[in-house]
């Protein structure tokens, strides 16, 4: 089995429901952990597996769990929260897991909750994932009826309950401390750290927030062991990774592959290379908030360290391809429009800086840019660098901009010299730039 996370997933098919899921080996990890292992032993396996977070930051999961207070005197209830907000543009991997194998999500939560002795689990799901919501509800119901959830699971002294929370659309809710505020029904503004959520989290209680894909690895590690798990990978970090490619490639999609598969292999063999008539210019390796990589980086393995060496982040592992028919300035404007809109407004450098950045990019696209404004953009990439804003949203917004300024400098300058977007009449030019709300002159009569 070399695709543990997606082994049950068939395109367009119904997921496996409880009986079939159990027949396929489902809930084995729960039985094994509850009957034969102490919580700390489960934690130890996860640490030894070298599993790292798949939500973007790549923090070692076992280490994160080790900060949760354990033992009889710890504050209760403790919480396990699944981060299923998946709003990072260009990212579509968690949806696959949630829709494709909902019971795997539930099993993952139970065995992980056992490891940290959590009492309650929440799945924080973005509102638009309605199919995932319905399937998760059904899976929770089936699991509860079978005794996998509720009091004294499988006759043990461990009790655990899962609830689904469906959000209402705001990117910042995916940031783990903002997510806690969102779950508490407050405005979803990030919290100061420390204290870290592992110690003071949801309603002040110890809480682990973990990405969907990260958690889905856990049952397989418990069932099949650390050796097996680490061998799935081609590099230092264990396991597989769900990689994705979108943009003008022949076969956009997502594939579970060995961790450390090279960008070139993903792009050329799995995504089929560029569509006819489109040439490759660069790619954001792991969602909208990762710096662009170019031709010279294509042989890098997609893992946390290698991509960092290339000057970017693996992020979510779902790549967005920039082609030669698409205006890089428009590309940047689209990204900064998103970040400016989704800034939570808590700290001034972010909300003020991002909307300024967006306005400059828009004026460049409209042919009204000036050379000095490129310096203003560069200045922002420094002003909004990590550590200068309250959370990672603003630095994440600057990573693609900084790299586009570096690799596509001539294109930015051409906009200024020619006083227009050179792609204007092409596939994706200034004409397409974001101008909502649109002026009334654009209203076209109904047929």
């Amino acid at each position: 089995m070399d695709r543990p996370l997606t082994r049950n997933i068939k395109p367009k098919a119904e997921p496996l429901w409880l009986a079939e899921y159990e027949k396929a080996g489902g809930y084995e990890s729960v039985r094994k952990a509850l009957r034969t292992m102490a919580p700390q032993e489960v934690q130890k396996l996860v640490t030894e597996s070298t599993l790292r977070g798949r939500g973007g930051a790549g923090f070692p999961t076992g280490k994160k769990w080790s900060f949760v207070p354990m033992g009889p005197d710890t504050p209760r209830p403790k919480y396990l929260v699944v981060n299923a907000d998946e709003m990072e543009p260009g990212t579509f991997k968690d949806r696959l897991l949630l829709e494709g194998d909902p019971h795997q999500m539930i099993e993952s939560m139970i065995v992980s909750a056992y490891a940290i002795q959590a009492d309650v689990g929440y799945i924080f799901l973005r509102m638009e994932y309605g199919i995932a919501a319905a399937r998760l509800r059904k899976a929770i119901k089936e699991a509860r009826a079978k005794g996998y959830l509720g009091r004294n699971l499988l006759g043990s002294d461990f009790s655990f309950e899962i609830y689904l929370h469906s959000s209402a659309g705001r990117y910042i809710c995916g940031e783990e401390t903002a997510l806690l505020n969102a779950l508490e029904g407050k405005r979803a503004i990030p919290r100061a750290k420390p204290p870290f959520p592992q110690v003071v989290g949801l309603w002040g209680k110890p809480t682990i927030v973990q990405n969907v894909e990260t958690l889905c690895n856990v049952p397989h590690i418990i069932t099949h062991g650390v050796e097996w798990y680490r061998r799935l990978s081609r590099g230092k970090d264990g396991g597989t990774k769900i990689y994705g490619v979108s943009g003008n490639v022949k076969r956009p999609g997502a594939w579970e592959l060995p961790m450390g598969t090279s960008i070139r292999e993903i792009l050329e063999e799995h995504a089929g290379g560029m569509r006819d008539g489109f040439a490759f210019r660069g790619l954001l390796p792991g969602g909208a908030s990762t710096a662009m990589l170019v031709e010279e980086h294509l042989d890098l393995p997609m893992d946390f360290e290698s991509i960092a060496q290339g000057g970017s982040r693996m992020g979510t592992g779902t790549m967005i391809v920039l082609d030669d028919q698409t205006c890089p300035v428009g590309f940047a404007q689209n990204l900064e429009h998103f970040f400016a809109q989704e800034s939570c407004g808590w700290c001034t450098p972010c909300w003020e800086g991002l909307s300024w950045t967006e306005r400059i990019l828009q004026s460049l696209e409209e042919g009204q840019g000036r050379m000095e404004e490129l310096d203003v953009l560069t200045m922002h990439t420094k002003l909004l660098a990590p550590g200068r804003t309250f959370c990672a949203l603003a630095p994440g917004a600057m990573d693609p901009l900084q790299s586009l300024l570096k690799y596509c400098r001539v294109d930015f300058e051409r906009h200024i010299h020619e006083k227009r977007c050179p792609w204007r009449d092409g596939h994706n030019g200034a004409d397409g730039a974001r101008t909502w709300p649109v002026s009334s002159s654009m209203i076209v009569p109904t047929r």
């Binding site: 209402a168 943009g247 909502w436 009334s440």
Partner: protein
Amino acid sequence: MLSDAERAEIEEELSHYPDKQAGCVEALKVVQRHRGWVSDENLKSVAALLGMTSDELDSVATFYNLILRKPVGRHVIFLCDSISCWVCGCDAMRKSLQSLLGISMGETTPDGRFTLLPIVCLGACDHAPTMMVNDDLHEDLTIEKVDRVLEQYP
């Protein structure tokens, strides 16, 4: 005034949390499912039910992109305008929708049939461009397909 059905659904959501405020987003969404949007009056009723002030609840409601605080048409079209869809031509879809419906982004057709809104990445970027109509995702859009999709929503 909230209907009995709305109250029952809200109570069910509240049972998932240790305090009432935590259920506020779900509660607003219950109202929105029943009425299409959340009016000031309904917001007040929800706030009273949860023991929040209306201002507190509105500060949460307005934080979210998908809690609709203004009336909308029978069907709401959410067109993805994020990066992968933009690269794959969502602007052409926007122009086509605007011209088919005779409205701009953020507007409702005079017959109250459609409201047209932008939305961020729908997590279906491998099938860009995409849009959602009400709760349904529509992928791999072309100008012809957009036209056909609209016919499904009378």
